[in-house]
Symmetry: C2
Subunit: 355 residues, 2 copies
C-alpha cells in the first residue's frame, strides 16, 4: 500500500509546492485550525479590494442584483460546519498516476463557514422558470487544457436551492483570508472542493447546461480518453486516522510502544451519514469496528471515531481504516482507476513499528 506508479515529475512538484495538504495530525481538531485546511488553487490567488468588489446576479432573473460585501453581510446569516475534500485527493496513489496535483490523502479539512443562503438571493432576484442551471464565476484567471478562462462551475437549480448552500464571507469566525476566496465564496456542503467557487464575482441563471472547461472537461470521471464520463459531485466516503505515536521525519513511519494504543480519526461522506468505521492492524485480513463519536458539528462535517489497538508483539504493522455510509457506500481497498484521478477513496494505510 505504498504510493504506486512512476516518480513525480517537475510539473507535479511545482503544483505540490504551491498547494497545501492538511498534516494528518490535524485530524485531532474537530474544526481544522486556519492555515491547516487543505488548499487547491488552480491559477493565482486574486488580490481583491472589498471596497470596489461587487457580486453580480444576472442571466434569467427578473431583477438583476449588484451587491456590495456590506449588502451581502446585511442579509440573514447562517453558519455551517463543512468537511471539504479535493476531488483529486488520493490521485498520487492511482496507477498509472494521472498527472496533476499529486495528492496522497491530505487534501481535506473542516471549517465553519458563515454566510447568507443562496436560495433567498435567487428568490430576491426573481429566478425565472426557464433557468436550468446557475453558473458561478470566480475572479481567478488562467489557462487550463489550452483554454483561457475565469474559473467557473455550475449547479442545477435543485442543487443550488438546497437549504445548506451559502455564500460565505467568514471562516471559523474570521473574514475569509485571501486563499479561501476573499471576500466571498460559494459553499456547497457535501460536494467535492471544486464546487465551492472562491473569489466569487458573478452568479448567472442560464437556459442551458454550462459547457465551461471546469464542467465539461474537468471534474468528470472518465474511464478512458473517449468516455464522455459522469460529473464529479458528492464526496465518496473516507476515514482517515491521525497516525499514532511519533514519526520518522523522512519516511513518516510511526513508532509506538507496546501496550494499548488509542487510534483516533474522522470519517465523512457527501452521500449520507457515516454509519461504520472499521480498522485493521494486519493489512486488511481482519477488521474491527471503531467507536463513533457523538459529534455536534452537524450533518456536513466529519464524524470522529476511535479504536484501541493492542499489539501483542513488537514488529512492523500496517494500520488501515475504512468508512461506510448510510447509503451503503464503502471505501474500497483499491479504487477504480479514472483518467483524471478523481475520488480515489481507497483505504488509508499507515505503517507503524511497535517497539
Amino acid at each position: 500500500m505504498e504510493p504506486r506508479g512512476p516518480d513525480i515529475g517537475v510539473d507535479e512538484l511545482q503544483l505540490a509546492a504551491r498547494n497545501s495538504g492538511m498534516p494528518l495530525e490535524a485530524l485531532d481538531w474537530p474544526v481544522t485550525p486556519l492555515g491547516l485546511h487543505y488548499l487547491l488553487i488552480h491559477y493565482d490567488i486574486p488580490r481583491v479590494d472589498a471596497s470596489t468588489w461587487s457580486l453580480e446576479i444576472d442571466g434569467l432573473v427578473d431583477r438583476p442584483l449588484t451587491l456590495s460585501l456590506d449588502d451581502v453581510r446585511a442579509r440573514p446569516s447562517e453558519t455551517v460546519a463543512v468537511t471539504m475534500e479535493c476531488a483529486g485527493n488520493g490521485r498520487a496513489r492511482l496507477e498509472p498516476r494521472p498527472v496533476s496535483q499529486p495528492w496522497l490523502v491530505e487534501a481535506v479539512g473542516t471549517a465553519e463557514w458563515t454566510g447568507t443562503p443562496l436560495r433567498a438571493l435567487l428568490e430576491e432576484a426573481g429566478l425565472r422558470d426557464d433557468a436550468v442551471e446557475i453558473v458561478f464565476t470566480g475572479l481567478d484567471h488562467g489557462v487550463e487544457g489550452g483554454v483561457e478562462q475565469d474559473y467557473a462551475r455550475s449547479l442545477s437549480i435543485a442543487a443550488a436551492s438546497r437549504d445548506e448552500v451559502i455564500l460565505a464571507y467568514e471562516v471559523n469566525g474570521e473574514p475569509l483570508p485571501p486563499q479561501h476566496g476573499f471576500p466571498l465564496r460559494l459553499v456547497v456542503p457535501g460536494w467535492y472542493g471544486m464546487t465551492n467557487v472562491k473569489w466569487l464575482a458573478r452568479i448567472t441563471a442560464a437556459a442551458e447546461p454550462f459547457s465551461g472547461y471546469q464542467q465539461a472537461e474537468g471534474y468528470r470521471m472518465l474511464r478512458n480518453a473517449d468516455d464522455a464520463g459522469e460529473p464529479v459531485t458528492r464526496m465518496a466516503p473516507r476515514a482517515l486516522m491521525a497516525p499514532p505515536g511519533f514519526p520518522d521525519f523522512m519516511t513518516r513511519r510511526r513508532f509506538v510502544a507496546r501496550g494499548p494504543c488509542p487510534i483516533r480519526g474522522r470519517a465523512w461522506s457527501g452521500h449520507a451519514p457515516i454509519t461504520q468505521v472499521d480498522v485493521s492492524a494486519d493489512g486488511g485480513r481482519s477488521w474491527h469496528p471503531a467507536f463513533l463519536d457523538d459529534d455536534d458539528l452537524g450533518r456536513y462535517a466529519w464524524r470522529g471515531w476511535s479504536w484501541t489497538w493492542e499489539p501483542d508483539a513488537s514488529g512492523d504493522y500496517e494500520l488501515w481504516c475504512r468508512a461506510r455510509d448510510a447509503a451503503g457506500n464503502e471505501q474500497p481497498e483499491i479504487a477504480d482507476w479514472n483518467v483524471k484521478g478523481y475520488a480515489n477513496n481507497e483505504v488509508q494505510s499507515v505503517p507503524v513499528t511497535v517497539r
Copy 2:
C-alpha cells in the same frame, strides 16, 4: 533553469504533501497573510494545552524560572517583522538532488511576531558566566537520522542576546496557531527557519556547545560525507518575483500581453540590508537594476522591488532576478552543491510567454 535531477520519490512526496510553500503571488503582500506563510514541520504538530504548559529556564542560571503563558505575556513586549526562509529552500533545484523536503523556491514568508525579548529573561534568570550556549527545546518529538529526539537547537550567548531575539506568542496580531508553535516559539530574525524553535518548552544555559542532532548532524553545509561542515545560520540573499500575468494550471508558465509589464517582487538577506536587485528578461545575458521600495517593515523583513519589462516581440522568455546585500553577498546563477541541500539561493527563473 527547469528543476534538475531525478524524479521525486515517495518519501519526498509525503513530505511535500504535509509541508506548505508560499504561493508566489503572495509576494504581493508585505506581510504574508496567515495560512500562506511557508511551513516545515519535522515531526507532528503537538497539541498543547496552554493552561498546563510552562516554559522552564534552567541550566547554568542562578535563579531557574518556570513561567506560565500569562507570565510570559506579562513581560515587556515587542513586535518585529521577520522574513523567514527554510534552510532547505531551493533544495529540489540542486543536482544531484538531496533527498528531503523537495522545496523549489516557495519556502518563505514574512510575519509580524509579538513576544518578549529573550535577553531580559536570561538576565532575570541570572545567566552565569560559565554558560557558552543556550539550548532551546520544543515539544515536537520524532526520529531523524535514526535518533529519537525532541527538536532542539542552540545559539551562542552572543547570538541569543541580540536585541531582536524574542519569544513570540502572537503572529500578525493573533495568538500563534498550532502550526506556528502555539503557545510560544523562539524568533531569531535574519536566521534560517530551523533556528526559530516552535512549541518551546525549555531554555537551558549550557557549559558546552550543544551536540544534539539538529545542531551537530542536521543543518550543516557539508561538501561531502566526510566533511565536518559549517553550521547553517543566516539567510543568504534572495530575490523572488511575483510571476506576472496569469498561469497555465499544469506548467505554471505565465502569459502576458505585449506592452509594458510591471514586475514586482521582494528580496531579503540575513547578513545585511538589500542594496540591489537586478532583473533579466533574456536568461541572464543582460541585467537591469530594479527600483527598491522605501519599505517600513524594518531591518529583518524583505524589501519590495519593481521593474517594468517592455517585451518587444511575442514569444517565450525567461525572467530572472537576483539580489545583492550590503555585505557584498550576491545570488549565484548556480549555487555550490552541498550534501543536505541547504541555502540554494540560485536566481529564480520564471518562464513567460508574450502573446
